[in-house]
Structures are given as structure tokens and as C-alpha cells.
């Protein structure tokens, strides 16, 4: 599967709106939220900058700029400073002013620019690589991925969004990451269903739906990291009148999940159809998944008819058959696994002996 190497769209195309209007609307959301705490953007600038070297750019971030904040939401800020002579970068601190407290973290301009360049490179990679880069980001880069997303989405205290031009790249990478997760959960749902887990399959399928929502949202200009917001942001997208095959596909999957957990008829068909459409519309057609042994997994006999699978992370679990790996298969065809084999695959996946590869 190779596609998705086209460069990200322009900011206006990505947002589906005039960028200035978008920024102004974010400013309004932020100011409305801050007003409930008796604060304005200038106050945030003053309080946050008190914890940072020099004259940093102070960004208000997270739920307040997305118009999602509630009465208990934190005031999260990020300071981007020219230098960091005191070595405070990367450590979150709490600052207090009167009744209000806000959290801030400092990064240098150099570090931010370097990570944004890497983001730009990942955004033009095929979805499998973009998703892998996102997954490995925190191990390899200085600025944690959740902070990178907050920086790009952040509203500066002067009312501008200094990093908005990177939103399309952010969207491309976050789309790939969530699509990969949706496909993995979808595959596990199909396998769990074949293995007879009537409630377990619904759990995987619900997460597949949630990640599919975030993939579509990321594709359509709304990029925000935390899974707890996915369903609310999706409802907001629907309320805005968004339409398209991928939107319908997610809604069809949601409908298949209605009702008490476990009572649903076959989910494999709806999952394969919905995720196939979403993947196709988001630049990853021809979805196939594989189940591969984790590097370093070993096996040794336990008793006649059973072996111990020794997973690389040090855990072990008994297994009653081989065949826990599965060659690249379309989601729909994964539903043809024999129940006993599906149970073997599922057990091995949970034990860390095999991994689901959604980009096979």
C-alpha cells in the first residue's frame, strides 16, 4: 500500500475556511473561556512569561483554543523562548496568580523549528511511515508529540496563531496515526468476533470507530490529540453539515454498534466496509492487515498439544496451536479465520508475541 505522498494542501483548503476567520474564531473561544476565570490574553502572557527566560511567545493551548473547555479545564500554556540559558526547557511547571493557576512549559525556538521540519517531512511520507513516525516520536525527538500538536494549534497572546501554517502537515500525520490505530482495532475486533468474544469485539470496534472519527477530523482541519474529545468533535463536525463517503461510513459503523454490548449481530462486515471506505478516502486504499511475530519471540513445548510462547518483553503464555501469525489479508477475509485459530491469534496479540500490522 503506497499512496499519500502528495504534499499537504494549503492552509485554506485544509481548514475549508479563510485562515484569518479561523484564527479570529479561536481567539473568541479562548477569550470567552478566559473571561470565566476573570482573565484576558494579556494576563495569561504576564503570568506565563513569569516562568520563562527572556520575552517568550506565550501560546494558550489545548481545550480552550478548540472551544471545548469546561469549568474544570486547566489553563495550559507553552512558552517559546529564543534561548534557554537556565535550562528550564521541557519541564512542566505550575504558576499561580490570585485564584488562578496555569501550567506552562518552555521550549526554545530552535527546538520547535527543528521538530516542525521533521513534522513536515513525515507529512509527505506514505501513511504507514507517517504513522510509524508519530508512534516513535517521543522516543526520538525532544518535544513530546502532544506538545508539538499544542504548539501548532496554539493561540499566541497577541491573538495570532504563529504556527498555523503547519496545521496541514500536522493533520496529515495525525490522520495517518489515527487511521492506523482504527485499522488495528478493526482487525482485532474481527479476530475477537471469530474467537467468540461477544463483548470484547464491541470494545475493539468502538475504539476503531473513535479512531476513524479522529482520522476523518484530522483530514478535515480539526486536529486534537486526546481520545476523550473524539466523539464530541465528531458530533460537532456532523452538526456543521459535513458530508462525504467517509463521514457516512463512520456513521454506519456507529449504527452497527448501537444497543447493549454483545447483542450486535455480525460486526466484521460493517467494520470492513466502513474502514475500507475511510482508508480509501483518506489516501490509503486497498487496506490489508497482517499479524506478525514480535521480534525475538520464541516457543518451546509445554505438554503434548501445547507450547509456551515466550514474548520479547519477558512475558509468557501457553498456546495450544501454531498459526498465531497471519499473512496480509483484507479485513473482510480476516473474518474467515477458524474460531480456534482466531483465539490463538488474539491470545498471542495480548501477550505481546505478535503485533497487528495495519499497513501490510
Amino acid at each position: 500500500m503506497t499512496s499519500g505522498t502528495a504534499p499537504p494542501p494549503s492552509l485554506e483548503t485544509f481548514l475549508g475556511a479563510d485562515p484569518d476567520a479561523f484564527v479570529a474564531s479561536r481567539r473568541r473561544s479562548a477569550e470567552a473561556f478566559l473571561a470565566t476565570r476573570g482573565l484576558g490574553l494579556a494576563d495569561v502572557a504576564r503570568i506565563a512569561a513569569g516562568g520563562a527566560p527572556g520575552s517568550p511567545v506565550v501560546l494558550l493551548t489545548s481545550s480552550p483554543v478548540h472551544g471545548l473547555a469546561n469549568r474544570l479545564s486547566d489553563i495550559d500554556t507553552i512558552c517559546v523562548a529564543a534561548e534557554d540559558d537556565d535550562g528550564v526547557a521541557g519541564m512542566a511547571t505550575q504558576l499561580f496568580s490570585g485564584d488562578n493557576h496555569l501550567e506552562t512549559i518552555v521550549f526554545t525556538t530552535a527546538a520547535v523549528d527543528e521538530d516542525l521540519r521533521e513534522l513536515g517531512r513525515l507529512a509527505t511520507a506514505p501513511p504507514a511511515q507517517a504513522a510509524a513516525g508519530h508512534g516513535a516520536w517521543n522516543r526520538r525527538r525532544r518535544i513530546r508529540v502532544k506538545y508539538l500538536e499544542r504548539i501548532v494549534n496554539g493561540l499566541a497572546t497577541d491573538g495570532s496563531m504563529p504556527y498555523a501554517e503547519h496545521l496541514p502537515a500536522l493533520g496529515a500525520v495525525w490522520r495517518a496515526a489515527s487511521l492506523g490505530r482504527a485499522l488495528r482495532c478493526g482487525a482485532l475486533a474481527v479476530i475477537a468476533e471469530r474467537a467468540g468474544e461477544r463483548r470484547g469485539r464491541v470494545a475493539y470496534a468502538a475504539n476503531a470507530a473513535l479512531f476513524a472519527m479522529d482520522a476523518v477530523l484530522s483530514h478535515r482541519g480539526d486536529v486534537f490529540s486526546n481520545r476523550k474529545w473524539y466523539l464530541l468533535r465528531w458530533e460537532r463536525l456532523l452538526a456543521s453539515g459535513a458530508a462525504g463517503d467517509e463521514v457516512d461510513a463512520v456513521e454506519t459503523l456507529r449504527a452497527a454498534l448501537y444497543g447493549p454490548i454483545g447483542t450486535q449481530p455480525e460486526l466484521a462486515g460493517p467494520l470492513a466496509a466502513a474502514l475500507g471506505t475511510v482508508a480509501g478516502r483518506l489516501g490509503a486504499p486497498g487496506v490489508r492487515v497482517a499479524v506478525r511475530h514480535a521480534e525475538g519471540v520464541r516457543r518451546a513445548p509445554l505438554l503434548p498439544g501445547a507450547e509456551m510462547l515466550l514474548a520479547p518483553a519477558g512475558g509468557a503464555v501457553p498456546t495450544t496451536a501454531s498459526g498465531e501469525a497471519v499473512a496480509p489479508t483484507a479485513l473482510r477475509d480476516l473474518a474467515a479465520l477458524e474460531p480456534e485459530r482466531a483465539a490463538v491469534v488474539l491470545r498471542a496479540a495480548r501477550a505481546g508475541a505478535v503485533e497487528v500490522d495495519p499497513w501490510a
Binding site: 468474544e197 468502538a206 454490548i261
Partner: protein, 179 residues
């Protein structure tokens, strides 16, 4: 235990011991997960009165956390994040409390459906209160001002505890970064 009537931490209460090094790591890690992550979810539920869609997903995440804690207390390695909800709904809990998947679904207000936002959160609060009450000792609350001190004192105690049990306290390092 409120709506479910089962006592939390049955095996620990009954006195079943585990090798010291792993038991220390398991109990302190679980205390940390409850203190930091579970409390954050409970706060999300409290603040999200007008955001039922957010609260719905938070309930799912809380079940994932409980499945993770349950696996650790059972002496198992918790599976990857992808699997935790499936384990919670299919297997229920064993170590945290003897609750079948269906009982857990009922307690968490998910009886109408996994993504159905019309269920209420009362059962979740009862479940949480019962777990918190039954946990051995006072789980710190980093979300309140005094909580920062409680958290640091806990980490210091755990460092000594690890030494006492003959285990490397290195596993505490990520907690220090989060604190």
C-alpha cells in the same frame, strides 16, 4: 461495595502474598495509576456535565485503566493499550474486584451501548469511591494543592520500599517526570 456488593481487592485482603520485588512494583505502580490517571478521569467526569460525549469516552478510558491495574495486581504484564477495553468488557475484573464483564458494564453506566451517551455516571463514582476506600492507605491527590507534597512523600517512601524489597527503583523514574 454499593451497587455491586463485592469487596475490592479480594485476594490481597485474603492475605495471598507474591514475591516481594514484583509485589512492591505492582502495588506502587497501581497506586500511581489511580492517583494520577484515574483521578484525572474522575475530574473530567465532574467538569463535563454538559459534554456527555466526552464523559462517555472518559468512562471507557477509566475501564481501560482498571483493566491495566487488574492485570498488574494479578502479576501479569498489562497488554497493549489496544486490548485493555476488550479485556475489561469480556473478562471483567478479578483482582480489583470480582466483577464480570456484564457487571462492570452495568456499574459504568454502559448498559445501553458502548458509544451511547444517555447512560449516567453514578455507578462510576460509586465504583471509584469503593476502590479508593479499599485501597491500602491514602492514595495521594495531585489535583489539589496539598497533593503535590503527598505525591513527593509517596515517591520517597517507594524508593526506600524498593530498596527494602531488593528491587531496582528505576521504574519510579517516569513517575518523577510526571509529578
Amino acid at each position: 461495595m454499593g451497587v455491586t456488593g463485592v469487596p475490592p481487592f479480594p485476594r490481597a485482603r485474603a492475605g495471598l502474598a507474591r514475591p516481594a520485588a514484583s509485589a512492591v512494583e505492582q502495588w506502587t505502580t497501581c497506586a500511581w495509576l489511580l492517583a494520577v490517571e484515574a483521578r484525572a478521569y474522575l475530574e473530567d467526569l465532574e467538569g463535563g456535565g454538559e459534554q456527555p460525549e466526552m464523559r462517555q469516552v472518559v468512562k471507557l478510558r477509566l475501564l481501560e485503566l482498571l483493566a491495566d491495574v487488574d492485570a498488574r495486581l494479578a502479576g501479569a504484564q498489562p497488554p497493549g493499550e489496544d486490548h485493555l477495553l476488550a479485556l475489561a468488557l469480556e473478562l471483567g475484573l478479578v483482582e480489583v474486584a470480582a466483577l464480570s464483564g456484564d457487571a462492570l458494564i452495568g456499574a459504568a453506566g454502559l448498559a445501553r451501548g458502548a458509544l451511547d451517551t444517555s447512560g449516567d455516571d453514578g455507578g462510576v463514582h460509586e465504583l471509584w469511591d469503593a476502590i479508593l476506600d479499599a485501597f491500602p492507605g491514602a492514595v495521594p491527590d495531585p489535583l489539589v494543592a496539598e497533593g503535590q507534597g503527598e505525591v513527593l512523600r509517596a515517591l520517597q517512601a517507594w524508593s526506600k520500599l524498593a530498596a527494602e524489597a531488593g528491587t531496582d527503583a528505576g521504574y519510579l523514574r517516569p513517575f518523577l517526570e510526571d509529578a
